[in-house]
Amino acid sequence: MSGPSRELPRWVDIGLIPLVNLSAAFLVTGLVFLAIGESPVDSVIIMLNGAFGYGTGLGYTLFYTTNFIFTGLAFAVAFHAGLFNIGAEGQAYLGGLGVALVCLSLGFLPMVIIIPLAIIAAALFGAAWAFIPAFLQARRGSHVVITTIMFNFIASALMIYLLVSVLSPKGSMNPETRTFDPNAHLPLIHDVLAGLGIAAARSPLNLSFIWALVCAVAVWLLLWHTTLGYQLRVLGANPAAAAYAGMKPQRLIVIAMMISGGLAGFLALNEIMGASNRLLLQFTAGYGFVGIAVALMGRSHPFGIVLSALLFGALYQGGADLSFEKPTITRDMIVVVQGLIILFAGALEHMFRPQIARFFSSSWFKAKEA
């Protein structure tokens, strides 16, 4: 491709350009704040304070960060293989079913057994939901973007049916399962720290945060230090070359999507097993879609994904505090900000590149370098 992909210093490519894009998104956000008659500066201060300024706020920030790490990694793994999985929402939803089934039926087991079982169930159910679109793409050529959208809606209908008619306790009108037994609650970080003699503020932050970081390292190892990871990246960069080199694209497509679905399923560990302790309707709440933005912002690298997940987590928690402090601002404002970030950092990622490239190839910059 000509034009936008001119060589730039690496720090510009992975640092400066995302920052410029992010600034543009925040600039437009500022205009929206002005349009509804709120001071952008005040709002930023409230949001920063809400996200990082006190223990519980920080806990919530990291709690949301956990969700975004899982869905960001999920998107990135498929993306490296050239697949556009926008079905994380449905895969995470089904992952919740897996977690709930384990926690409901095996709640009498000791925690050290339940946790690995729940992790396996989350991954299996998420991967299974990704398998069908993956298989259809690999074997029948139906595009994974469309099928995963369809599967999000099918998952939603399925889960409503299960929660309303099958899983909710007899006589209950609420579409949710009973609360899991205490053994099947993921330990909260502040409880764990208290056990070690460290006082920490209460928040729903739980052990799945650690698991998310483990997954980030695992994805990094997988993609850049294993043969499978290499094959996935070749498939994404050049499917014809992958086939020519004797790799099996059909198999790789299915594997990439199932890993992606499994990672998405882990969202349920945090939300269902860590926080709500029962299966709820719509607990995925758009995290799957935001994962796309998280991965794009993080340049599909696990380290970048953890950083951008932190950004989105802070935005989420800061936004919640903001809507609490200022009654005129609703949590919908955060959806707008997320959308603007997706637009500027994702769809418009090349917008400022020509100008930046021109600056770095200009004689002024070269003279300074020399």
């Binding site: 259809l136 809606f153 099918i154 879609f289 959308g339 994702g346």
Partner: protein, 323 residues
């Protein structure tokens, strides 16, 4: 007799349900036949509905509401165009962004401006598109078949319903019988050939996404000021995606698009009708199953089990002019 009456009622409500799907489906058709994938139909419908509800409430005119809906939706369509045509961004990502911005912005602005739970004010009938019965509708009501079709299905719909069904042959004519349509389909299949013929690919694609915006505006206006009497938060509730499914189901062609939307409309109408009613021999069909049928059918179609859906060849691929 009673059976026929039920049939007419379901058909009538199926038509009303399928109208927004049809507008949005045709909208997607223009965009995707020109090679610009659009999963932002949902978002554009939503801003259209919000603009229609707001302006109709402020001016008291349904037509002003419709125009506002079209303008708002076209503005979002142009953002999508700017990202995916001018800056060659990823069209799926851009669509996701549009859906997010639309969902958040409409809810936030609704809250800021009207402060009634994210809605726009309830509209009086004069500020909506209302249907008027056709002549002799009441007299013919009890004539079997013809009378029922006339008085319960054809008569009494609002003007947007008729416009939606008129848009189908119009789209067909535009796509297959005009120079504009030929060029539009060509930029979706082989943009380089169009470019060689001296026609601007970006200009054609911008024209296509503008058509898409206009029709999504109609879809949104229908929801807020024809079928409903105000904008309600997230009132599209996935209709944009059902329209997308219908578009694939129709294999990106206008006349089948109408049948697909009607089919999905019938499914929804039947689902509403059957809610909690057991069918002899089968038992109660879960309403969620009926709601999932459009998506399941589309997946089957995509898998090649019901014919084969072949997308426009250049769909989703930004065009890079050779230097």
């Amino acid at each position: 007799m009673e059976w026929l009456d039920l049939f007419a009622q379901i058909a009538g409500s199926a038509i009303r349900v399928s109208v927004p799907l049809l507008f949005a489906c045709l909208a997607g058709l223009y965009s995707e036949r020109a090679g610009v994938f659009d999963i932002g139909l949902e978002g554009k419908m939503l801003v259209g509905a919000f603009a229609a509800g707001t302006v109709a409430a402020l001016t008291g005119s349904a037509w002003a509401g419709l125009i506002a809906a079209i303008l708002a939706s076209v503005f979002f369509a142009l953002i999508h165009g700017f990202a995916s045509i001018t800056h060659r961004g990823n069209q799926i990502v851009s669509g996701v962004a549009i859906n997010f911005i639309a969902a958040g912005l409409t809810a936030q602005l609704g809250e800021t401006w009207f402060d009634i739970g994210g809605q726009t004010p309830q509209l009086p009938n004069e500020a909506r598109f209302m249907g008027a019965p056709w002549p002799f509708a009441a007299e013919l009501r009890n004539v079997p078949v013809i009378g029922q079709v006339y008085s319960q299905i054809l008569s009494g719909q609002n003007i947007l319903v008729y416009m939606a069904f008129l848009a189908v042959p119009l789209t067909w004519w535009l796509l297959y019988r005009t120079r504009f349509g030929l060029r539009l389909r060509a930029v979706g299949e082989n943009p380089a050939a169009v470019d060689t013929a001296g026609i601007s690919v970006p200009a054609m694609r911008y024209a296509a996404v503008t058509c898409c915006g206009v029709l999504c505006g109609f879809a949104g206006a229908y929801l807020a000021i024809a079928q409903g009497a105000s904008f309600i938060e997230n009132m599209t509730a996935g209709k944009g995606f059902i329209a997308l499914a219908a578009l694939i189901f129709a294999k990106w062609r206008p006349i089948p698009a109408m049948w697909a939307c009607l089919l999905f409309g019938v499914l929804e109408a039947v689902a509403n009708r059957l809610q909690g009613v057991p069918i002899t021999g089968i038992g109660e069909v879960p309403v969620q199953l009926m709601q999932a049928v459009p998506y399941i059918l589309t997946v089957f179609l995509l898998a090649g089990f019901i014919g084969h859906a072949v997308a426009p060849k250049a769909g989703g691929v930004p065009y890079v002019k050779e230097k």
